[in-house]
C-alpha cells in the first residue's frame, strides 16, 4: 500500500535482477579480460592490452577450419530443425493425431537425456551400420537435440492461434496451400525463428555429441578448444571464446534484423 513497501519491493526486484545479470555476465567479462591480457598464461590482474591472442587464434589453421565447420554445421542444423520442428508442431497441434501428448513428449525427449548418452548412442549406430562419421551424421546429431527447441516455441505460438483467421483467408478465396503461406506461416514465424535461434546456438556450442561424432582434422570448434586446453591454457582460448560469443550474438541479431521479430511481438 504505502510508498515504502513499494520501494522495498522495487529494491528487492533490482537487487535480484542485478545478481542474476552479474552471475551470468561476470564470467564473460573475465574471459574478455583474459583475451586482451598479454601474459602467456591466465592471470589476474591484467597487465596490459593486446590483440596477440586474437592474431594467434585467427592464424591457427585448426581453429579456422573448425570454426568454419561449426558455422556450416550450425547453419544446416538451423534450417533442418526449423523445418522439422515447425512441421512437427503443426502436425501435433492441428493433426488431431491419436496420442498427440505422448508424441510431443517423445519429440521433446532428447532434452531430457544427457547429451553424452545421445552422442554415444549415435556413435555406435553410425559405426555399426558402417556409415562412419560423416558430417551429415554430426548435423543429424545436433538436429536431434535442436528440434525440441523449435517444437516448443512453435507449439507455444500455435496454442494462441485463432484458426478463424485461416478460415477468413479461405473464405476470401485462398486455397489451403495459399492459406498456409499467406497466413499460417507468417503468424507462426516468430515462434519458429525464436526456436531456430536456439537451434543455431545449441549446435554452435555443442560439445558432448560432437565429441563422439567428429573425425580427426574434422572437429568442430568446441572440440578443438577442448583438445587445445588439454595442453595449452593461454589467451588464445579466451580469444576463441570471445569470437564464439560474438558469432552467436551476431547471428541472433542478424536474424532479428532481417526477419524481424518486433513486428510480430504484439499478435
Amino acid at each position: 500500500m504505502s510508498a515504502r513497501r513499494l520501494d522495498a519491493g522495487r529494491v528487492a526486484y533490482y537487487t535480484l535482477n542485478g545478481a542474476i545479470l552479474t552471475f551470468l555476465l561476470l564470467p564473460l567479462a573475465i574471459v574478455a579480460v583474459f583475451a586482451l591480457n598479454p601474459t602467456p598464461y591466465i592471470s589476474f590482474p591484467p597487465v596490459g592490452v593486446t590483440l596477440r591472442w586474437f592474431e594467434k587464434f585467427f592464424a591457427n589453421e585448426d581453429f579456422m577450419r573448425s570454426l568454419w565447420l561449426s558455422l556450416r554445421v550450425a547453419a544446416m542444423v538451423l534450417v533442418l530443425s526449423t523445418v522439422l520442428g515447425a512441421m512437427c508442431a503443426l502436425a501435433l497441434a492441428r493433426g488431431r493425431l491419436p496420442g498427440a501428448g505422448i508424441l510431443t513428449a517423445f519429440f521433446m525427449s532428447p532434452l531430457m537425456l544427457p547429451a553424452i548418452l545421445t552422442g554415444l548412442a549415435l556413435f555406435q549406430v553410425l559405426l555399426l551400420s558402417g556409415v562412419g562419421r560423416p558430417v551429415w551424421g554430426l548435423v543429424m546429431g545436433h538436429t536431434l537435440v535442436a528440434v525440441p527447441y523449435v517444437l516448443r516455441t512453435t507449439l507455444a505460438v500455435l496454442a494462441n492461434f485463432d484458426t478463424r483467421v485461416e478460415e477468413a483467408a479461405s473464405s476470401l478465396g485462398a486455397s489451403p496451400v495459399r492459406v498456409f503461406f499467406e497466413v499460417t506461416l507468417p503468424l507462426i514465424r516468430p515462434g519458429v525463428i525464436a526456436g531456430g535461434i536456439f537451434a543455431f546456438i545449441v549446435s554452435f556450442d555443442q560439445f558432448p555429441i560432437s565429441l563422439f561424432l567428429v573425425l580427426p582434422k574434422g572437429e568442430t570448434l568446441p572440440v578443438v578448444l577442448f583438445n587445445y586446453m588439454k595442453f595449452d591454457l593461454d589467451g588464445a582460448i579466451a580469444a576463441a571464446s570471445m569470437v564464439s560469443i560474438v558469432m552467436a550474438l551476431s547471428v541472433v541479431l542478424l536474424l532479428e534484423r532481417v526477419i524481424g521479430l518486433k513486428a510480430y511481438v504484439k499478435l
Binding site: V165, S171, E182
Partner: protein, 354 residues
Amino acid sequence: MAQSGRPPASIRIDGVTKTFDGQVKAVDDVTLDIEAGEFFSLLGPSGCGKTTTLRLIAGFETADAGRIVVGGQDITDLPVHKRDMGMVFQSYALFPHRTVAENVAFGLRMRGLPKAEIAERVAAALKQVALDGYEARRPSQLSGGQQQRVALARAIVIRPAVLLCDEPLGALDRKLRQSMQFELKQLQKELGVTLVFVTHDQEEALAMSDRIAVMNAGKVEQVGAPSEIYDRPRTRFVADFIGEINLFEGAWSGGRFVTGKDRTLPAVTNGARSGTGIIAVRPEKTRLVGEIDGALGGRIETANFLGGQVLYRVVTDEGRAVLAKEQNVGTSSRKVGDRVGVAWMPSDAVSLEA
C-alpha cells in the same frame, strides 16, 4: 470482372444434418429457403445450431446429409475457397501481420486482379465503411468497432453474392452495436447482397432482419418476418425465447379455452378444437381493468417503471404471476397491492403448438 456487384443469390438448405463426434446432432435435418437479397437471421440460444448452420453454408463444416444450393448451384461438395462468399466473424479474424489496406486487398489478390483495380476497390470499400485514411494502420491499432468495419470491408470488397455474419456485433458495446446494426442494414440494402446473420440477441434480429429462423436444439422452430415471429409465435420455445410473454396451459373444450379451476380465458377458438393447449399473451397486449367478468382477478405485486411504460407483475387469485404492460400516460394511479383485473382481446391470445 464487372464493376457492378453480382446479383444476390438465393440459398436453399435442404435436409442438412451435421453431427459432431458421432454424438450431438448440432444441426438436425434443417431445411431453409433464403431469398436472394434478403437479410436473413438465424436466431437462438447458444448451442442451438445456428453457427454450425452458417459454417455449413460457408463450407467450414461438411454436412453429414442434405444439400446446400446457392444461386441454383449445388455447392455441398465445393471447397470453401471456391464458394465466393464473404464472411464476418465475431472475433474479426483480421490478419494481424497485415495493414488495413492489405487485409481488405487479400481476397482481390487471391483472385489475381490487376494492382490498379485492387487499389481502387480497396479504397472504395474502405470508404463504404467510413475508414478511408486508415489504410496503413495495423489491426492492433484500431478499436473493436473499427476492426469489425475492416472485416466487413474485407468481406464485401470481393462483391460476394452471399455475405455471412457470425455474431459480428457481439464483441461491441451496446451503443456501438446499435449504430453498427444500422450501418450494416444500410450497407446490405445498398449492396443488395443476400445476408445471413447469426445472433443470439433477439432485439438485434427483430430490428435488422427481413426474416428470422428461430432455432433450438439443432432444429428450426419457426421462420418468419420479425412481426410474425413476435406476434404469432408458433411454438412454446419461440414464444418464450422472444421477448416477455405470459403462457397459460389449459384445455380446449366446447369452443372455450379453459385453465385451472374452470376459468375461461379470452382466446379465438376456430372450430372444433379440443384437447390440451397453451395460449400466449404479450404483456403489452393486456390491459389492467377493474375486477370484471372475463378478466383475471389479482393483486399487483410489483410495478417496474420502464420510462415509456410500466411493467406490472400481477399475482392472480389462483396464485400465478401475469405480466402486464401499460403505456405511461401519466394518469395511472395503480399501486403495488391494488386489486386489478387483467384482460386482453381474444385475437391477441396466440395458441401454441406443444
